[in-house]
C-alpha cells in the first residue's frame, strides 16, 4: 500500500535539496549522470534454455554471430567516441565469449554483464556481473532445465565483489524468494529483484497477474526489511515494479523503441546491438521483444524511472523515494558503487507527468 503525499506545490527544488540528508544523496547520485548506456548481444549461443527467455524470442536470435575480436574492438572504440560510457553485455550467454567481453571492458571501463552464472567470467573483466536466479533449484530445474543452479552460481562467484544476484519474480516463484534470499545473504552475496515481463506473444504461466503483483510486492518489502545488507532495493523500487500499471504507463518509456525523439537522452544515444553488430532503432530497448505493456524489467526501470527526475521533485518525500531508486540502480549496475541506507522507509505513490 502506498502513501498519498499531499501536493503542496510550494516546494522549490532548492528547498528540497537544502535538506542535508537529501542534499548528500543528491550530490552522491548526480555524479553518475554522465552514464550513457548501450547494450550488446554477445553470442547467439547459451548453455541452457529457459522458458520465457527474452533472447530466444523474436528475430534477434537469428542474427549472424560476429566473433571477430577486431570487429568488436572497432565497434567499442566507435561507441566510446559517440559518447557511450556504460556497456551492458547480454544475450544469449556472454560468459561463452569471455575474450569479447574483455575487449568491451578494456575499451569502455564501466559496464555490466548479464549471465546465468554457470561459467565464471575471468576476474580481470571488472564489470558488474548480474547472475540470473529464477527461483529455488527445483524451480530452476523445471524452468531452466539445469541442476543445482544456485549452488553452482554461488560457488562460481563466492566472495566476488562484481556479483549481484538478480532474482526474477514470476507468478510462480514468489514464496521461494524467501529461502533463496536467505541462502544468498548467508553466503555474503548481494541480491536485487527483477520482474518477469512477458515477451511478446507469451501467454505461459510465468506471466504476472494483479494478485501475483501484490504478493510479489509484499514479499519484496519483507525481504528488504529482513535483509537490508544483502538486498539492493528500496520501497520505491517495490512500488515502481509491482504496480498494476507497467513502467511505460507509469513513467513513459524513454528507450528508442517507445520514444520517437532522437534529440536527447536515451532516444538519442541508446542502441541495442545484435550479434551481427547491427542495430535497429525501432527495436532498441534494454530487453527487446518484451511486451511493452507488461514491462516491469529491472533494467528498464533503472533508466526509465531515473529519467523522470523532474516529476519526482515535488516534495522531499517523493524526491527521497526517487533518490533511493537511483541509489539502488547505481549500486546494482556500477562496480564499486556502494548503496546507502534508504531515505524513505515506506511506499510513495508514483507522481504523474502533470504534477
Amino acid at each position: 500500500m502506498s502513501r498519498q503525499v499531499p501536493q503542496a506545490a510550494s516546494w522549490k527544488f532548492a528547498d528540497i535539496i537544502a535538506i542535508p540528508t537529501v542534499r548528500d544523496r543528491w550530490e552522491k547520485v548526480r555524479r553518475y549522470f554522465f552514464l550513457r548506456e548501450s547494450t550488446y548481444d554477445m553470442t547467439h549461443r547459451c548453455n541452457i534454455r529457459c522458458d520465457g527467455c527474452y533472447y530466444f524470442n523474436g528475430e534477434k536470435q537469428f542474427a549472424l554471430e560476429n566473433g571477430d575480436p577486431a570487429a568488436w574492438r572497432e565497434l567499442m572504440v566507435a561507441e566510446k567516441e559517440r559518447g557511450i560510457t556504460f556497456a551492458v553485455l547480454a544475450g544469449a550467454e556472454p560468459s561463452l565469449v569471455p575474450e569479447l567481453c574483455r575487449i568491451c571492458a578494456d575499451t569502455i571501463p564501466l559496464g555490466a554483464i548479464a549471465t546465468n552464472g554457470l561459467k565464471p567470467l575471468p576476474p580481470e573483466i571488472d564489470y558488474r556481473i548480474h547472475i540470473s536466479v529464477w527461483g529455488n533449484d527445483a524451480s530452476s530445474k523445471a524452468v531452466r532445465k539445469a541442476d543445482d543452479m544456485l549452488k553452482r552460481q554461488m560457488a562460481n562467484y563466492h566472495n566476488d565483489p562484481r556479483a549481484v544476484f538478480v532474482y526474477t519474480f514470476t507468478s510462480q516463484n514468489i514464496d521461494e524468494a524467501q529461502e533463496v534470499t536467505e541462502e544468498l545473504a548467508k553466503g555474503g552475496q548481494k541480491i536485487t529483484f527483477n520482474m518477469f515481463s512477458a515477451p511478446e506473444g507469451y501467454n505461459g504461466p510465468l506471466r504476472h497477474t494483479p494478485e501475483s503483483l501484490a504478493k510479489t510486492g509484499a514479499m519484496m518489502t519483507q525481504l528488504l526489511t529482513q535483509y537490508p545488507e544483502a538486498v539492493l532495493f528500496s520501497h520505491y523500487n517495490v512500488v515502481a515494479h509491482t504496480h498494476r500499471l507497467g513502467l511505460h504507463a507509469l513513467y513513459s518509456c524513454s528507450y528508442p523503441r517507445m520514444n520517437p525523439s532522437a534529440n536527447v537522452g536515451l532516444g538519442k544515444s541508446f542502441r541495442q546491438y545484435r550479434t551481427d553488430l547491427q542495430w535497429d532503432r525501432a527495436a532498441a530497448c534494454c530487453v527487446p521483444d518484451t511486451d511493452c505493456a507488461d514491462c516491469r524489467h529491472y533494467a528498464a526501470g533503472s533508466a526509465v524511472v531515473t529519467a523522470r527526475m523532474y516529476r519526482h521533485a515535488s516534495n522531499p518525500e517523493t524526491f527521497s523515494a526517487w533518490l533511493d531508486y537511483v541509489d539502488t540502480y547505481l549500486a546494482v549496475w556500477v562496480q564499486g558503487y556502494e548503496k546507502s541506507p534508504n531515505l524513505c522507509d515506506h511506499a510513495v505513490t508514483p507522481p504523474s507527468d502533470g504534477q
Binding site: R36, V264, T306
Partner: protein
C-alpha cells in the same frame, strides 16, 4: 532588441554554467544559439536539473515531453516567455 528575453537568456546561461560547472564561458559570452546537446554536451538529466532550477526561478513548469525541443538558450528563453505570457 528584446531586453526581457535577453535578460532571461543571460539568466539561463548563468544557471547552466553553475549547474554544469562550465569553465571558459560567461553568461555574456555563451552563444545563445549553440546546440546545448550536440555542442555543449548536455544530456537529459542535466536538462531535468536545469528545468527544476528554472521552475524555482521563473515559476515555469517545463513539460517532460518538451525537453527534446529545448536545444538552445534562445529556444529555452522563448519557451519561458511563452509560458509566462500564457499565464497572464
Amino acid at each position: 532588441m528584446n531586453t526581457t528575453l535577453d535578460q532571461t537568456i543571460l539568466r539561463i546561461a548563468e544557471i547552466i554554467i553553475n549547474e554544469l560547472k562550465l569553465e571558459d564561458v560567461t553568461p555574456e559570452t555563451f552563444d545563445a544559439d549553440l546546440d546545448l546537446v550536440d555542442e555543449v554536451g548536455i544530456d537529459s538529466m542535466d536538462l531535468a536539473t536545469i528545468a527544476l532550477v528554472i521552475r524555482d526561478e521563473f515559476g515555469v513548469r517545463i513539460d517532460e515531453d518538451d525537453y527534446p525541443k529545448l536545444t538552445t538558450l534562445r529556444i529555452i528563453g522563448g519557451y519561458i516567455a511563452g509560458k509566462l505570457q500564457g499565464d497572464e
